[in-house]
């Protein structure tokens, strides 16, 4: 079942087609990556999904029904890229306040915050003020306030920026366990290595349109270029072969591109015949980073102002 469906969503600003006909489906319980270069329209898209903006046209289906911001925001947790908290407010009070705005009762909010604070070792923070926290600490607090009310859909915009590796791992584990417990996570970023590690499904957005949509493994498969890596001792001297081209050679490691009519088995056979001592042989799939760059490359690096009419 899809927890969120977006159909041909559009939002134009005065000088910008920020979101220009995006459609996507997000399955329940998955971790979903929303990728795109700066200014691709990610934040605008997320703001429509969270009910902050109204779309110009198109449809948002949340949980099988037409998205109704007033009611549905209680089931959404949104952590915007630009973090924000009341600096002068005590941390405990602030977490309770934000939770109650999401519709939790006071007692419920208190109990949930206590558990989360324990889990993330933040108990001693309760009576401190936000201005006393470091950037990473307030990031953690922000994460807690986002997921506190057990939302069905959690939207995280660059959740790891400003976190050290230890705390980043801590948050990452929490994201996994939230997904395991049935929440759906939308994860917006332009850090590809994190996406590969965390997400199972991605949408790539550029210039307000989605240009790529699918499971990571499938996407990688569809962008593969039949490149294999082989490490071996006693490699034969490489002449021209009708089986493969050598892309790169480095101290017992070959990067080969297969020709159209050859299979990996043919290659292995060839090297075995040549008496090479093979250590490893595997297919090299393109990284998301490479796919990303390939798809986005050639379009202007910054979005240009355009006339909307």
């Amino acid at each position: 079942m899809n927890v969120l469906e977006v159909h041909n969503l559009k939002k134009y600003f005065a000088t910008q087609k920020a979101v220009d006909g995006i459609s996507m489906n997000i399955e329940e319980g998955g971790i979903f990556g929303l990728l795109g270069p700066n200014g691709a329209g990610k934040t605008t898209l997320l703001r429509m999904i969270t009910g902050i903006f109204y779309q110009d046209s198109g449809e948002i289906i949340f949980n099988g029904k037409k998205f109704n911001p007033e009611k549905d925001v209680a089931n959404i947790g949104y952590m915007p890229e630009e973090r924000g908290l009341y600096k002068k407010m005590k941390i405990g009070e602030q977490a309770v306040y934000l939770a109650r705005l999401k519709g939790l009762s006071k007692a419920d909010a208190n109990a949930k915050i206590k558990t989360w604070f324990q889990k993330l070792e933040m108990e001693s923070w309760w009576n401190k003020k936000v201005e006393d926290l470091s950037k990473g600490m307030s990031q953690k607090l922000q994460f807690v306030t986002t997921v506190l009310h057990n939302p069905k859909l959690i939207i995280l915009d660059e959740p790891f920026s400003g976190l050290d590796p230890v705390n980043a791992n801590l948050i990452k584990d929490e994201i996994f366990s939230l997904a395991k417990n049935g929440s759906t996570v939308i994860f917006s970023t332009h850090r590809m290595e994190q996406v590969e590690e965390i997400c199972n499904h991605i949408v790539l957005v550029n210039k307000g349109k989605n240009i790529l949509d699918g499971k990571i493994a499938e996407i990688k498969n569809s962008y593969k270029e039949n490149i294999y890596s082989l490490t071996a001792d006693n490699l034969p001297a490489q002449g021209n072969s009708n089986l493969f081209d050598v892309v790169n050679e480095k101290q017992g490691k070959l990067l080969l591109k297969l020709k159209a009519n050859s299979s990996p088995n043919d290659i292995l056979q060839y090297f075995i015949n040549e008496k090479a001592a093979i250590h490893s042989f595997n297919e090299v799939l393109p990284s998301l980073n490479e796919i990303f760059i390939k798809l986005v490359e050639g379009t202007a690096t910054a979005r240009q102002f355009q006339n909307v009419n």
């Binding site: 902050i52 630009e82 924000g84 908290l85």
Partner: protein, 421 residues
């Protein structure tokens, strides 16, 4: 609705718990009193002067000068015979000198020169003139043969008038003016002080980037309304404390009344002022115009706050036109108090931009004596319509502005935000 309640509770509590709230609540009346009594004291303490009088008319004799000096010594007239005083009056200890030329007693004389070495104000000039005229009238009286008995008649026999409004026999224009002034000024201060608090609060949420988090839970309109209502309640709390203090002084004064003359004077004063006006009407209208005016202006301040970025100077330059309107209202108020039936007073108290202040200044003069019922009803209705309009407009600007970073928007852009669907 529940969410607005949560927001206003936070806005209210964080402000009331602040030390600065306690401070201003106590300090404001103290400063206000200091201002009133302080200026009174300063204006009453006039510098003493010593002026040499060189008389060549023969009328300003030593005995007359001595007599007048005995009555009032702030300006001392010292008879001097030697005209060489001209060159060294400062050294001789005089602030200036007057050489009185020969005068015809029937016509008097204009523009007698008062020579000094620094310029004194018009006030000093007229004081010296008055004092000289007291002496001169003695001279003239004597010439005309008016004795002391006739003089007393001349001085005491006169006619005075007192206004009585047939619609409202109790009306007392002095008390009405005072109450009008106090009400108008209170609303003026509240609009300026708490209006800018609304603006700063919105700015804080925007620059802290908490706004985006909050508007993903509540509608921007709810956030804005919660803030405005919360802050208006802070202002009301402050009022309540002040009124409670006055009441406390009143009751304590009443109990001590028999023993202390000062206390009983205060009690009598309060009783007298309140007896001459329709107190429930004034208080009710005050609450109405305070709330109406506050919503009217603070929603505009909220819109401004949402449109600007961190820069305080931007805030000042964008909010200046609104502040100017409030200051304009206080000018209209001072006209309205002098002439509560004049066209400026009437129109000023009907148009919502100025009505909270101007109408409050007119109301103590009496309804329906000075303010006909239709004017009051029209003014209230227009204020309600006015604040609905400004809140609606502000909400639209706010909705866009609160998430808009970057350059300062122009008035034209803000108007566009407001008029967009």
């Amino acid at each position: 609705m529940n969410k607005i309640l949560l927001i206003l509770k936070r806005e209210y509590l964080t402000r009331v718990k602040k030390k600065s709230f306690v401070f201003t609540t106590i300090l404001f009346p103290a400063l206000y009193m200091a201002l009133i009594f302080g200026t009174g004291y300063l204006s009453s303490s006039v510098q003493k002067m010593n002026i040499a009088i060189v008389d060549s008319s023969g009328y300003f004799g030593d005995s007359l000068l001595a007599k007048i000096n005995a009555n009032d010594s702030t300006i001392l007239f010292t008879p001097v015979k030697d005209t060489s005083i001209k060159s060294h009056f400062r050294k001789a200890g005089y602030d200036g000198y007057i050489i009185i030329p020969p005068i015809d007693w029937q016509t008097g004389r204009k523009n007698i020169k008062f020579i000094t070495d620094k310029t004194h104000g018009a006030g000093t000039e007229s004081m010296i003139e008055n004092k000289l005229n007291i002496i001169w009238s003695e001279v003239v009286n004597e010439k005309l043969g008016i004795d002391n008995e006739k003089k007393t008649v001349l001085n005491t026999s006169n006619i005075s008038i007192k206004e009585e409004n047939q619609e409202n026999k109790n009306a007392n224009s002095a008390v009405s003016s005072t109450i009008g002034y106090v009400c108008g000024f209170l609303i003026y201060f509240i609009l300026l002080i708490y209006g800018s608090q609304v603006m700063m609060g919105v700015m804080e949420e925007k620059t802290n980037r908490i706004a985006e988090v909050v508007v993903s839970s509540v509608k921007p309109f709810q956030l804005m309304l919660g803030k405005i209502i919360g802050i208006s309640l802070v202002a009301l709390t402050q009022f309540f404390i002040w009124i409670a203090c006055i009441f406390l002084v009143y009751t304590v004064g009443k109990m001590m009344g028999s023993e202390s003359a000062v206390a009983s004077a205060i009690v009598a004063g309060i009783q007298k002022s309140f007896a001459s006006v329709n107190l429930p009407l004034i208080l009710g209208c005050f609450a109405f115009y305070f709330m109406g005016g506050f919503f009217f202006y603070s929603s505009l301040y909220a819109a401004i706050g949402s449109a600007i970025n961190e820069d305080v100077r931007e805030a000042q330059s964008l909010s200046f036109p609104i502040t100017l309107l409030i200051i304009f209202a206080i000018f209209m108020m001072s006209v309205a108090i002098r002439d509560p039936n004049g066209p400026i007073a009437v129109w000023g108290s009907i148009i919502p931009f100025t009505s909270p202040i101007v109408m409050m200044a007119r109301l103590p003069f009496g309804v329906p004596g000075t303010v006909p019922a239709w004017q009051l009803i029209l003014s209230m209705a227009l204020l309600v319509i006015g604040f609905l309009c400004t809140t609606w407009l502000a909400a639209k600007i706010y909705r866009t502005g609160i998430l808009m970073y970057g350059k300062k928007p122009t008035w034209k852009e803000m108007l566009k935000w407001a008029l967009r669907k």
